[in-house]
Every structure is written in structure tokens, then in C-alpha cells.
Symmetry: C2
Subunit: 209 residues, 2 copies
DNA sequence: CATCGAATGGACTCGGTAGTCCAATGGATT
DNA sequence: AATCCATTGGACTACCGAGTCCATTCGATG
């Protein structure tokens, strides 16, 4: 299909465009990000933008979404693929908070896009939904591992818990933004994670199995 | 200051513009809402928009923010001003979910604006922050009332609990949107409210007062 | 019924943004 | 060295949206 060759130099330029666009979208939203500002930030030209992203701005934004989703998941590695021990959950939680801290902005690249996606591009919406579902699936899998290992009670619904934790992250960020502090995010996340600990077998009474 | 007279007819037109704009912003975002679409939806003319909102689109959006915030708070009455009994909290929770249900979209007029505000208009940002803080304050006041009435443990931090509950609402809505169901919102909200119940005095052991 | 100001209609300007196009450059390959 | 194509530069077009302006209608009040 795509018989066009791409050199290392080209790949680097393309990546530079994606990352710069990602930063601008996080700071100013999709609407606040223009091809001209991207061009200026990357020292490229209009023709390059359309050379690497023939679909124009919409395609560029979708590429950004994919890239950001990948970055977000990688930042949670290796814990997000484990989550089979208490330590793993704790490490995951810290890694996630650290990721948002490093972003420099109290916003989730994916959650923020999720809000804007439905309003702009159905394809983008699907992409973001997929990322979000994948994320949910991993958290739910972690809960199931904890249950399988008899570390927590087996009666809780892993899907539900995963959604609650994700909601706490997204909502925590919404609150962290105006308060310019990580504490709302951390409070919401820890609070959502609390049920997990409360179901810890053998915590208060001695029933297990 | 504003010596200009306004008739009932004018007031009605102005209000019609605000409400239509609010709906469009909720559906398409600030960027996706244009004065032309508002004009079309309200059967008005360009000059009317600037007649009633001399500050242009920015002023119109701010008026919408104020109106939406008022609507959101009113939807929680009279419970949000009470929250001194278990029943009141339960009623408040149901009223809020019902409000979002009636909106027809899984999005918070204020939370959604909060996300977009920082990117567009600093004045709007302040307005939204104020509304959000007021909302937090009321929830925290409710927690304090419960503590004062010795209905729950007094050691919990009301401010923190209020933030956690608000985050659950906002994050729950983020998740409800792609899943097109109220269950993420309800799950997140109920989960955030759970600590309140767990601190219920006299729940497991018999001490009260 | 005359008048005044509010309310309305709609054409017009101005600026910004996505997208097009063609020419020029540069590096790899032979 | 010659050639080819990816890469790059940047002017240009088309369109859309905010905001301006002036003319007209409507309704209240004397």
C-alpha cells in the first residue's frame, strides 16, 4: 500500500511534529493548536506537515493520540502488567502520579482527548475509547490476579473497581488543575484504591479462603 | 452604570440565547460553538448577540457559565444545603444523578468548562473555579454537619472527602460518556461516598453520641 | 398620532486557519 | 558524477468565524 520510503531523517521530523503537537494540545486543546504554531515549534514547513500526515490536522491529532496513549501505558510499566501483589499496586500508583507530575500539567493526555474527541472526530473518539478500555482491562486483570491469589476478597467486581479507579484518576486531575496541586489526584486515587485494601483478607478478622 | 433599559421581550431573547449556547457548548465545546450556529438556533441576528453581550463571544460564554452553575446547584437543592442526615445525602446523590440524566449528555456543564476554560479565557477560568470551590465548600459543610451531629467519625478531613466526591463525579462522567451509561458515574460516586458510611458510628459496634 | 429608544435584520470587513501547489534542496544509490 | 526521490520552503487560495455598522421595525408613552 504505502510504497513511499521514509528515511531516518524523515522519521525524526515526523516524530518531532507528533510530540510538539501533543504538548500543544495538552496546553491549549485541539482547537487551540494550529498547524502554524506546530510549524513554528518544529521549524518545519506547511508542506512537511501534509507530507507526513496527508490527512491533515485530523490525521495528525490521531497520531498524537496513539503516541500519547503508548507513552501513558509505558509510564506504568512494568507494574500495570503485574498488579499481582500489594507492592505492585503501590508501585503502580506512584509511577502514575509521577508520570502526571512530569507532564507539568494536571491533565491526562488521553482523558483530555476523550472529552474533546466526541466533539470533533468520530475516528479519534474510537481510538481514545480503545485506549481507555485497554487501560480498564489491565486494571481489572490486576484485581482478578489479587483475587486469584486470595489476597483480596473474591466477591468484588473487578470491572467495577477498575472503572472506579480510572474515574478517580480522571476526576482527580480535573480537580488538581484549578488547585494547582497533586493532592486532589492523590486523594481521589488513594480513596478509590482503599476498598482494595479494606478487602484485604486477614486484615481485621481471620477469615480467608 | 448600565443605564440601558431592557424590556421583557429583550430579557426573554437574551435568556434564549444563553440557554441555546449552553446546549451547544455541552454538545460541541466552546470551539465548536459559533455565533452563527447560536444565531440560527435562536432565530436571532448578529446584532442581537452583540446587543445583549457587548463583550462578544467571550462574554456570552461567561454568562452561560454562570447560568449553568446556577442550574447545577439548583438541581441539588434543597439537599446540598442540608446534608445533615443520611437521608439527605442519599437524596442529594439521587438528585445529582437525575440531573445529569436529564441533561441527555454524560458531561458536567461546569467540569467540562473547567477543562476548556484554562485554555481560552482567564476570566472564565476564575468564574468556573469559583463555582467549583463553592460546590466543594457545600459538600465539606455537609460532612462537618454529620460530624457535629456525631453521625460519623470526627477524624476524617471534610475538605478531602469533598474533593474525593467531586473527583468521583467528574471522573465518573468522563467514563460514562464513552460507555454511554450512568453506571460508571454511579459506581464512582457511590464508591466515593462509601467511606462516609464506613465511618458511620454505631454501625458495627454500639457506641453512639 | 407622534416620538423615542429598544429590538431586530443582515450585509460587510477583517483576520486567521486548513489545505494546495510548485519549486528547490539534499542525500543515497548506481 | 549522475540520477532519483524523499525532504523541505513558502507563497497562495478558499473558507469560516468574530465583530462592525447602518437601516428598519416594534412598542411604549406622551
Amino acid at each position: 500500500m504505502d510504497g513511499r520510503k521514509i528515511t531516518d531523517r524523515g522519521r525524526a521530523t515526523r516524530q518531532r511534529i507528533i510530540e510538539a503537537t501533543g504538548e500543544q494540545i495538552l496546553a491549549a486543546g485541539i482547537g487551540g493548536t494550529t498547524l502554524d504554531t506546530v510549524r513554528a515549534a518544529t521549524l518545519t514547513s506547511k508542506s512537511q506537515l501534509f507530507h507526513y500526515f496527508p490527512g491533515g490536522k485530523a490525521e495528525l491529532v490521531r497520531e498524537v493520540a496513539g503516541w500519547e496513549a503508548q507513552q501513558l501505558l509505558e509510564a506504568q510499566e512494568p507494574f500495570i502488567h503485574d498488579l499481582a501483589t500489594w507492592q505492585s499496586w503501590s508501585d503502580w500508583r506512584d509511577a502514575l502520579v509521577h508520570y502526571y507530575l512530569r507532564l507539568g500539567r494536571w491533565a491526562c493526555p488521553i482523558g483530555s482527548l476523550a472529552t474533546q474527541a466526541a466533539m470533533t472526530d468520530p475516528e479519534l473518539e474510537k481510538l481514545v475509547d480503545t485506549s481507555m478500555s485497554e487501560w480498564r482491562r489491565m486494571l481489572a486483570a490486576g484485581v482478578e490476579k489479587m483475587q486469584a491469589a486470595r489476597l483480596i476478597d473474591g466477591s468484588a467486581d473487578p470491572e467495577r473497581l477498575a472503572v472506579v479507579v480510572l474515574a478517580a484518576i480522571q476526576g482527580g486531575l480535573v480537580l488538581s488543575q484549578p488547585l494547582k496541586s497533586s493532592w486532589p489526584l492523590e486523594a481521589a486515587l488513594d480513596s478509590a484504591l482503599d476498598p482494595l485494601h479494606r478487602e484485604r483478607l486477614g486484615h481485621l478478622d481471620g477469615n480467608r479462603e
